[in-house]
């Protein structure tokens, strides 16, 4: 019997920190045959990335393999020397990192960087190296590869950077490619093409692949086998279909439940939360809409407008989803509505009152300031690092309602934190002491503290784990139904928007390409762009996989 390509036996890794030794992996067993794709799924902090770094022997100085073995092609590489490892890395084992832009050297051209990799593993003349680099760019299907050779990373889009990373990773024909969240941070349509490309290259070259992801939809679609990790342990592993259709471990079941499918509702995602009490909507016949945009336009001096002639409205207590890829103008639009930016043209009407006439730099005097609040995309970046959670939530109350320190302020902060599901004992912590989900809750508590009537949510769940996303979505839905807060939900993920919003607006290059009730748009999309977006959404569906087997891509 031949040994598998990669065999990880009882691998243990520990990190030494200011607070002593922290064990990151408690004995991991993984085996991988040549040509196979293994998915490692789990939430942040579960040890997925540490596993891949340990296999590559790329742990930083604080991290140490404390036990177990990693065998590659039957050889134990756990204690291999630096020279052996250098030979192995790139040519036999290769890796793609999460953020392609950060992983490329910003001051060297694409050609130089690919040639560096080739040169590290063999003597090549300049001309051959160049031809090989060009072939590699062709293999990763970059448009106009000759021109791209001379480009610097900042001249490429995120998707193209990831293609260049893939080209570098496969340059020396590795037997195993480790892809650590290769599509996180890319647009859904780009995610789709990058994954198709990876699957194709893998099939063409007979590589094995480890796909590390928090996205079960992605894993279900592209992997032969899945290992589920939680807190440094593999809690369950097996063939993809069997594992996802009948998950045995409670943690897997929770992950599967939290991953949105085509048909799931918010209640499906986090089943154990209390039922939402929907308040009857008080709708007098003549009430104006909560927010109305009339032919709003904004340009930043470029050749095209960032937001071009956009009109829509949100009824009182309604929820509208604004969907589009990066660069579609959805973030600009949300800042226009929050009155952090001034529109060039058009009108923004809030509750019958035009608010576009007050310039953005004067808007903090407006009584409408507290009515419109925003929750930002990246919870890691949206909290003042010098403020505790308490101070962050108290900030709008101190500034907008002129509340002084005292019982009233404390009560209001506790109330907002409670609504956002933030445990009270976390209020004294600084942002760096909170997890991503907790920071997201602080961000939401801060936005709802001044009791706004419209909440603008700028991709509030994009940076969160699925289980956290499910809880946050449910929380937002509860705020809308119980407190009657109107919402504008900005996202690139149609499937998430569908569950939360009554209506949908699809934005492309600053223009509205489609608008209508969510269910209708979702089931019968009219615009071609909407269909592209819908096809690319990696919603979780174990049965859908077979149609997208890499083998089906041409063998």
């Amino acid at each position: 019997m031949t040994s598998p390509l990669l065999q990880v036996e009882n691998l243990q890794v520990a990190f030494s920190t200011r607070h002593g030794i922290v064990t990151a992996l408690h004995g991991i067993d993984i085996a991988l045959e040549g040509g196979e794709t293994l998915g490692i799924v789990g939430e942040s902090g579960s040890g997925k990335s540490v596993t891949s770094l340990a296999v590559m022997r790329l742990l930083d100085r604080a991290g140490r393999i404390t036990g177990g073995r990693v065998r590659f092609e039957g050889r134990d590489i756990t204690r291999a020397g630096h020279a052996d490892l250098r030979r192995l890395r790139g040519s036999a084992l290769s890796m793609i990192f999460q953020n392609p832009r950060a992983a490329l050297n910003p001051i060297r051209t694409v050609e130089q960087q690919i040639v560096d990799v080739l040169a590290a593993h063999g003597r090549l003349s300049r001309a051959t190296a160049r031809t090989q680099a060009l072939d590699l760019l062709r293999a990763v299907l970059i448009r106009d590869p000759e021109a791209r050779l001379l480009a610097y990373p900042h001249e490429l889009s995120g998707g193209m950077c990831q293609r260049v990373m893939i080209a570098m990773a496969i340059a020396c024909e590795p037997a195993l490619l480790i892809a650590d969240e290769p599509t996180t941070g890319l647009d859904v349509t780009t995610q789709q093409t990058v994954m198709e490309l990876l699957a194709r290259i893998k099939a063409d070259r007979g590589m094995a692949m480890i796909l590390i992801t928090h996205d079960l939809g992605l894993a279900a679609r592209w992997c032969d086998r899945i290992a589920v990790m939680e807190a440094g342990r593999v809690v369950e592993h097996g063939p993809t279909e069997a594992l996802f259709e009948a998950p045995a471990h409670a943690y897997t079941r929770r992950l599967v439940a939290a991953s949105p499918t085509r048909r799931s509702t918010l209640a499906d995602l986090a089943p154990d939360s209390p039922p939402v009490v929907t308040l009857p909507r008080v709708h007098a016949a003549g009430t104006p809409p909560l927010l109305e945009l009339v032919r709003v336009a904004k340009s930043f001096g470029g050749p095209s407008r960032a937001v071009d002639d956009v009109s829509f409205h949100i009824p009182q207590g309604g929820a509208l989803g604004l969907v589009g890829e990066s660069g579609s103008g959805k973030s600009t639009l949300s800042r226009l509505i929050c009155r952090l930016l001034d529109p060039d043209d058009g009108d923004i009407v809030f509750d019958g009152e035009s608010i576009a006439r007050v310039p953005a730099r004067e808007f903090h005097h407006s009584p409408r300031r507290r009515d419109i609040q925003i929750v930002f995309q990246d919870p890691n970046d949206s909290l003042n690092p010098r403020h505790t959670a308490f101070d962050s939530i108290a900030y709008p109350l101190r500034r907008l309602e002129r509340l002084r320190d005292g019982e009233v302020l404390r009560t209001r902060v506790r109330e907002a934190a409670g609504r956002a599901g933030l445990p009270m004992e976390l209020l004294e912590r600084f942002p760096h002491q909170l997890s991503g989900g907790q920071k997201a809750r602080v961000g939401i508590a801060r936005a709802i503290a001044p009791r706004p009537r419209l909440l603008v949510l700028d991709e509030p769940t994009a940076a969160l784990d699925v289980s956290v996303q499910a809880v946050i979505l449910q929380l937002l839905d509860r705020l809308r139904r119980e407190d009657g807060i109107g919402m504008l939900f900005v996202s690139h993920d149609l499937n998430v928007v569908r569950m939360l919003c009554d209506d949908l607006v699809v934005l492309q290059a600053g223009q509205v390409v489609e608008a209508g009730p969510s269910q209708e748009v979702f089931q019968r999309p009219q615009a071609a762009y909407t269909r592209t977006l819908l096809d690319a959404v990696p919603y979780f569906d174990p049965q859908r996989r077979s149609a997208f087997r890499p083998a089906a891509l041409g063998h």
Binding site: R18, H19, R335, C338, L340, R361, H364, R369, R370, I372, Q373, I374, F376, Q377, D378, D381, S382, L383, N384, P385, R386, T388, F390, D391, A394, Y395, P396, R399, L400, D405, L409, R410, L427, E428, F430, H432, Q433, G443, R446, A447, P450
Partner: protein, 289 residues
């Protein structure tokens, strides 16, 4: 006082204790600085003799039991003069650095936040200022404004200003697009209060290092100006003047006139420089884990 602030404060005490324990050099520097401040405050109670009273019969005596640091050419007790000089030198350094920090941080903060034409104009002005040999500029300022202590403060503040403007500008500039800055505006802050209440406090830890290093530099600068006869005038005890006056006697072997005030100057500058790094660790909440 909010409960968060109360909790924050006890946490701060623990954190400072942690930083000092894990970094003995910082602890030493902090102790030295504290000692300097105490000496300056209680100078009148500490000195054995009147620092300006001359006693010619005992002129140029080497260190002894009655005069621990010896006496100078007029028979004044050098130890008393060194102690009194702490007051003046610290006062000059602290007020000069405070002025350049306050003015520089605000100007630099606004330039970094707004960018555009204001930023370009201030940037060029700073470049012009930095193109001068700074000590010569300080000399020219004191000479033009008049030979007084407050003019030394102003001159020292002016030559330090460009560094604070540049530093604050760069630090604010990298943070101006952060989510929490936009969030502050949504919470009802004007552009003005975003800079003053939100951005500058975040820049403070990085600037603390600069301030501490600068205090040492400002003392050297003040001493240098006095040494060449600008600023502080003769009978006033000041380290720079004492070194200048003592320099005449060093060829005849009267080393204590120069060495002891020089040593005081050196130790003070060293303390401030060492304190800088520790301060950053203490002031940055992200270092608390």
């Amino acid at each position: 006082m909010s409960e968060a602030a109360l909790i924050g404060r006890s946490g701060t005490g623990r954190h400072i204790a942690y930083v000092l324990r894990s970094n003995p050099v910082t602890a030493l520097a902090a102790f030295g600085t504290l000692l300097l401040v105490l000496v300056a405050v209680f100078a009148p109670a500490l000195v054995p003799y009147d620092p300006v009273a001359s006693n010619v019969p005992h002129a140029l005596e080497p260190p002894s039991r009655t005069h621990w640091a010896g006496t100078d050419q007029l028979g004044r007790d050098i130890l008393s003069r060194i102690i009194f000089a702490t007051r003046l030198d610290l006062m000059i350094a602290v007020s000069a650095v405070s002025i350049s920090f306050a003015v520089g941080a605000v100007i630099g903060g606004f330039c970094g936040y707004r960018g555009g034409r204001l930023d370009r104009w201030v940037g060029r002005f700073v470049d012009v200022l930095m193109a001068f040999p700074l000590f010569v500029l300080a000399m020219a300022l004191v000479a033009a404004l008049g030979n007084r202590v407050e003019n030394i403060v102003i001159a020292t503040a002016v030559i330090n200003l460009p560094f604070y403007i540049r530093f604050a500008r760069a630090e604010v500039n990298v943070r101006r697009n952060a989510g929490w800055v936009e969030a502050a505006r949504a919470c009802g802050d004007s552009h003005l209060s975003v800079v003053l209440r939100v951005l500058l406090p975040n820049v403070l830890p990085a600037m603390a290092v600069q301030i501490s290093l600068n205090l040492g530099w400002a003392i050297l600068n003040a001493a240098g100006l006095s040494f060449i006869g600008l600023g502080v005038t003769a009978p006033t005890p000041e380290w720079g003047i004492m070194v200048a006056e003592g320099a005449r006697f060093i060829t005849t072997g009267k080393w204590w006139l120069v060495a002891l005030p020089g040593l005081a100057l050196m130790m003070t500058v060293l303390c401030f420089n060492l304190l800088g790094d520790g301060l950053r660790d203490i002031l940055d909440p992200r270092m608390r884990t």
